[in-house]
Symmetry: C2
Subunit: 167 residues, 2 copies
DNA sequence: ACCATATAGTGCGACATCGAACAATAATGG
DNA sequence: CCATTATTGTTCGATGTCGCACTATATGGT
């Protein structure tokens, strides 16, 4: 859980005292704090416009299947989102219950399955994009697109490092 | 839930089609995706070295109380972390059960309380910082501190915009 | 003083998350 | 071929998150 660093951007002392911590740990503490708060706020904001019973996770999976490709396996999807496979099982069960995806056996591997979008799933995704965009519309003008563009590759790099370090 | 944008950094089409979405919505979709994954990975990594029954939230609150000041009210802490106050009630209950904080009545407002650190709480925080730092030590050299320093103020600004838009 | 409204914190219920253990199937190696 | 090990997906249980409703107290207007 992230804390509001703006309230405590003091001298930042005492974080490395008496340890062999590498330089920069405090910096990444702060960075992860900010990231955590933004994640929290953006997720809450987006979810508030999704219909009842639908999470951000559901939308994100539909979006992924649309943008990448149909027919992914549950494990592939779980890896794409960096969540445990049990969490993805749960999410997919919800999507299936809503009729937004269809689970088919995976030809070529009887252990596995494939996740296919339905027409209802595609329709829901389109509507969700519109709704979420509308929710962010009032604040989008306040956000500096150039800066966001600048931060994006940095974040990508950080993610990749964390990802590979996950073993 | 964030998806792995590295697997789908294509032409990003179809996000604004047929809507009045402002320019840049797609950009922020991507940004929030990356942020979500980083939050997920860093939280999981940090929690894995915390003792059983202790969450990242617990550590973060202790850290906040140490860095800002003792005697904050639960609501102040909830606001600092941008979480609902019910979540903070739960977290504080856990901290109190572990003997890491002490809840006292708030002189001057009988509705309110104050949260005070105990010696055990301070000791736990110190150990947690050492443990988390150690967990991140192997990957810290792979992270570019200059870039992180560059991204931090941008993220702060984004957070502030989201925060004020929350009403 | 009184009443309406706002605010602090909590109880509760619904539900998401995720680790552990498991069953089914695949892959590997002898 | 068989045995061992790895992998996919699920079930189950424990627990965190958070919206709703509620109580207690404060505050502001008349």
């Amino acid at each position: 859980m992230p804390e509001d660093a703006s309230k405590s951007q003091g001298q930042n002392q005492g974080q490395n005292q008496g340890s062999t911590a590498p330089a920069g740990v405090g910096l990444f503490f702060e960075l992860f704090n900010e990231i955590g708060i933004i994640e929290q706020l953006s997720r809450t904001m987006a979810q508030s416009v999704l219909p009842d019973g639908l999470m951000m996770t559901h939308f994100s999976v539909l979006n992924h299947l649309t943008r990448v490709a149909d027919g992914r396996t549950p494990l592939e999807i779980a890896r794409a989102f960096q969540v445990p496979k049990t969490s993805m099982t749960h999410t997919l069960k919800g999507l299936e219950a809503h009729g937004f995806v269809e689970m088919r056996p995976n030809p070529g591997d009887a252990r596995s399955k494939q996740v296919w979008l339905t027409d209802a799933g595609r329709a829901f995704r389109a509507k969700a994009i519109a709704d979420i965009s509308a929710a962010f519309a009032p604040i989008a003008p306040m956000l500096d697109a150039d800066k966001a563009e600048e931060a994006l590759p940095i974040l990508r790099e950080i993610r990749q490092v964390l990802d590979t370090a996950r073993d």
